[in-house]
Each structure stands twice: as C-alpha cells, then as structure tokens.
Symmetry: C2
Subunit: 94 residues, 2 copies
C-alpha cells in the first residue's frame, strides 16, 4: 500500500536543496545556504550525501582565490525527485 520514501530525499534540507536545483541551471553553495537557511556545516554534509548518491554534481573551483562550490542536479537526481513526489502523493492524498 505505502511504497518506501527514498530516505535520501525524505530529509528537509536535502529536499529543499533538490527543490531549488530542479529549477535552476546551477547554484552556488552560498546561494543554497541562504535560500535553505541552513548552517554551512549541515549543508556541506547533505550536499556530499546527494553527490555520493549521484543526485547532484559538485564542482569546486575558485572565484579569485576564494573557494567556489557549484551544484547541479543530475538526470538521476531529477528521476529520483519525480519518483519521490509520486510516492509521497500516495501518502498525502485524501
């Protein structure tokens, strides 16, 4: 009756990150931090998890001499998000 909710997406911060990345070409660490209102530490950890799952790619470069971390959602990430949403709808429909 109730299918498993992908535990990687069933997390407030990771879901918010994916939600943002789904609708933009790419987003910088600092932007994600601001939009999700998260601490840098928490965000860093959750981005790594999404990256390890192959749901996003993380590019680390430099803007001048400051580190610049840029994230993009992958096709796998988009598919996982879509499926998460579909599964979730079974839980929240009345």
């Amino acid at each position: 009756m109730f299918k498993e909710l992908d535990p990687l997406l069933h997390s407030q911060l990771r879901l918010a990150v994916m939600s943002i990345l789904i609708s933009v070409e790419s987003a910088e660490f600092t932007v994600l931090k601001e939009k999700t209102n998260s601490t840098a530490g928490n965000l860093s950890v959750q981005l790594d998890k999404l990256s390890e799952a192959g749901y996003i790619t993380i590019d680390k470069s430099f803007k001048g001499k400051k580190p610049l971390t840029t994230c993009k959602v992958t096709n796998k990430g988009i598919n996982a998000f879509e499926e998460y949403v579909n599964t979730l709808k079974e839980y929240i429909k009345k």
Copy 2:
C-alpha cells in the same frame, strides 16, 4: 522561503498512519500494522508519539481477553496534517 516541515509528520511511518486515520472513523492497531507493513514495536512507539502530540487518541480495551488498541485522528491532527501537506507542496512544486 522554505517553511519548517512538522517533524512529527515528516516520518514515513507516522505519515502513513496519519494518512490512514484521516480517511477512516477509527483503526485498530493490527490493521495499522498490516496496512503500513510495520513491526509492532515500531508502530507502538510511533503511535505513542502521535498521541503525545495530541494528533491522535488511543483507546485501549479488550476484545474478549485480548488487548484491543483503537486509534482516531483528532482535529489537531487533521489540522497539522493539512499544514504539513501545504508546506510540503512548496518543496515539491516545480
């Protein structure tokens, strides 16, 4: 931008339980256990949490001499569920 997701509802099992209770008059422990495909221990703990939050009521009686645990959602529970769903929609809309 992203509002807090009620942590009491942002749990697979508790959300499934609430989802069921929202659409029925009441449900027995054994029925919830079967429909959510959970272990009795896990279900017992999660029902207690929902009850302590005032989202459901738990009535313990006997069917003959066997224990019979019956759950109902409260108005508070219905409202919390509605708000959770509304908040969640901000995360999953594209």
